[in-house]
């Protein structure tokens, strides 16, 4: 066999990691500097942390609204998607339903279509059809929460299908013999055993919903704007306050960093829809 040189490989990886981290590090550097410090020769060391970029952002009522919207939308979406997906996978896994294989495949194809195809009809439906009296689904958190289901449910169903399939049928049959209803089987047998899978699904769904921009920008105007649209506004509206933009971007990025360790083993399966298993 060819001789392996682990330290040379390690060196390669150090370089690759630096390249990966550098743009994010630079963003953090910019966010920690005042406007005066930023221009001229780039410096990569933070001498004194200029916290005004962060305090300005965090105390701005508009931005606070965006952040609350993002948290509410992502959390509700994650809970809703995980619950619906659990019910659906339980049905697909335990009941003999006509055409259930096709349904499983069909839910997955929902995710493959380019978002640009859906922008126009959804905008029209949200502003004109899904309305009652003076109320419209347009510019509401509910609108975003329901819409993100289209992209997250297929992923969640795929993710949970393997887990629910892996729970022995004998367990829920035994519970049913003891007189448990479908609900009781779900809550007492399936949920406890599928807990780690449910957690990963909920976290990834949360991150996907938090990260989404295109629909949030198109289907909201004032009340339901999210943090990603807030970040994009820096480019289009006030394109000069780079320090504050960097601070906002850092805040947007934070959940990814927090959850990275928990879900990194599952992100590839999630993004490739299980086409590639690890």
């Amino acid at each position: 066999m060819r001789r392996e040189r682990p330290w040379l490989t390690c060196l390669f990886w150090c370089v690759a990691s630096l390249v990966t981290l550098f743009p994010i590090y630079w963003m953090f550097v910019v966010s920690a500097k005042s406007r005066v410090e930023l221009f001229g020769r780039p410096t990569f060391i933070i001498r004194s942390f200029f916290s005004e970029n962060y305090t300005n952002t965090l105390t701005d009522p508009t931005f606070q609204g965006y952040m609350i919207n993002s948290i509410v939308v992502a959390t509700s979406n994650a809970l809703l998607v995980t619950t619906l997906a659990l019910l659906a996978t339980y049905a697909l896994s335990r009941f003999r339903l006509v055409g259930s294989d096709n349904i499983f495949f069909w839910t997955i194809t929902n995710r493959m279509a380019p978002p640009a195809v859906f922008l126009l009809p959804l905008f029209l439906l949200y502003t004109q059809s899904f309305a009652a009296g003076g109320w419209k689904l347009y510019d509401t958190r509910l609108g975003l929460i329901l819409l993100y289901c289209v992209f997250n449910l297929p992923f969640a169903i795929w993710m949970l299908k393997g887990i629910v399939d892996g729970i022995p049928k004998e367990l829920d049959e035994a519970a049913m013999v003891d007189g448990a209803s479908t609900w009781q089987v779900l809550l007492r047998v399936i949920v406890p055993l599928a807990r780690p899978g449910l957690a990963v699904t909920a976290i990834l769904t949360w991150v996907f919903a938090w990260n989404e921009y295109l629909f949030a920008a198109t289907l909201t105007s004032v009340h339901a704007r999210t943090i990603t649209t807030g970040l994009a506004e820096f480019v289009t509206v006030t394109g000069t306050n780079w320090g504050q933009m960097a601070a906002t971007a850092t805040i947007t990025l934070l959940p990814a960093l927090l959850f990275l360790g928990l879900v990194q083993r599952h992100i590839v399966a999630g993004l490739t829809f299980g086409a590639v298993k690890e």
Partner: protein, 297 residues
């Protein structure tokens, strides 16, 4: 014991949500594509127009240019990601100290919001602030301004995409490589094959299904890239990086030319499917299709 009715009831909420927010919009856009409907026109109601929208599209220079740029972008990005991702995956196959640590770092870009990716790259490339323009100028004497030079803007969007998505390619190819059997490699070694021969005759054929899957997923995603590029270049300079999703969203959409926009969306979707199918037909031999089918059934 298990009544199918209960099963359908459990499935119902999912099906309803997917139908109302997934299928219904799709049917809506399908119908809209055959109408002439502009909210700002003298007659703001939808009127059946047959394939008129599609006829116009085929001769729409802006649309075609945008489509061409999108294809170029997707080609350069996915090709670079594939080569780079394969090399990194091979490196990962060796015994590296701190493997888990490197892996975690490598996964990070995949979790970052595309808008934030665009923002970080914008911060890297702003003249007078970003390190890229500064060092391009002081080390190579290159005037690096995304707002002025078409090629620089184009290749920066490619590099940004490579930064964002190479980790996915690395990790999928790594999964594929780890699953390969050892014997063919040992046999090749015994037969005295050199590295290139092993790659070409052993690794590549066995890895083909994984490579194909990766290319499809990346291709479909690259063709619909919007957020990052919008944040980095805003589609400019001019319309150089106004890729198709961005074009529909920022140009056609605000004009409220609904019929035309719908037709454009659908044509794009159709071309994406055709492109993927052509790739599939070109790269996979019939025998392998049969094997894949029997494998997945």
């Amino acid at each position: 014991m298990r009544s199918p009715i209960v099963g359908w009831l459990l499935l119902a909420p999912t099906l309803v949500v997917l139908f109302v927010f997934g299928v219904l919009p799709f049917l809506y856009v399908l119908v809209t594509g055959f109408t002439e409907w502009n909210a700002f026109a003298a007659d703001p109601t939808a009127r059946f127009a047959g394939v008129e929208n599609y006829r116009q599209l085929v001769f729409d220079g802006q649309f075609l240019r945008s489509l061409w740029n999108t294809l170029r972008f997707a080609f350069f990005a996915v090709a670079s990601e594939l080569v780079l991702g394969y090399l990194l995956a091979q490196l990962f196959m060796r015994n590296v100290p701190f493997k888990g640590f490197f892996r975690t770092i490598h996964t990070l870009p995949l979790m970052v919001a595309p808008v934030a990716v665009g923002a970080t790259w914008r911060l890297l490339t702003i003249p007078g602030l970003g390190p890229l323009p500064y060092y391009f100028d002081s080390w190579f004497g290159i005037d690096y301004r995304l707002g002025s030079f078409v090629d620089q803007a184009f290749f920066t969007t490619v590099v940004m995409d490579v930064w964002h998505w190479t980790p996915l390619v690395t990790l999928t190819l790594l999964a594929g490589l780890s699953a390969l059997p050892k014997e063919p490699f040992e046999q090749a070694q015994i037969d005295g094959a050199n590295r290139w021969q092993v790659f070409w005759h052993v690794t590549l054929p066995m890895l083909k299904p994984v490579i194909l899957t990766t290319v499809f997923i990346r291709m479909m995603d690259a063709l619909r890239t919007v957020d990052e590029v919008w944040m980095l270049t805003g589609g400019g300079p001019g319309s150089a990086t106004r890729y198709i999703g961005l074009y529909i969203w920022r140009v056609v959409f605000p004009k409220t030319d609904y019929g035309y926009g719908a037709a454009m969306s659908l044509l794009t979707l159709y071309l994406t499917i055709v492109l993927c199918w052509l790739l599939y037909a070109a790269l996979v031999a019939r025998r392998e299709v049969a094997r894949l089918k029997s494998g997945s059934a």
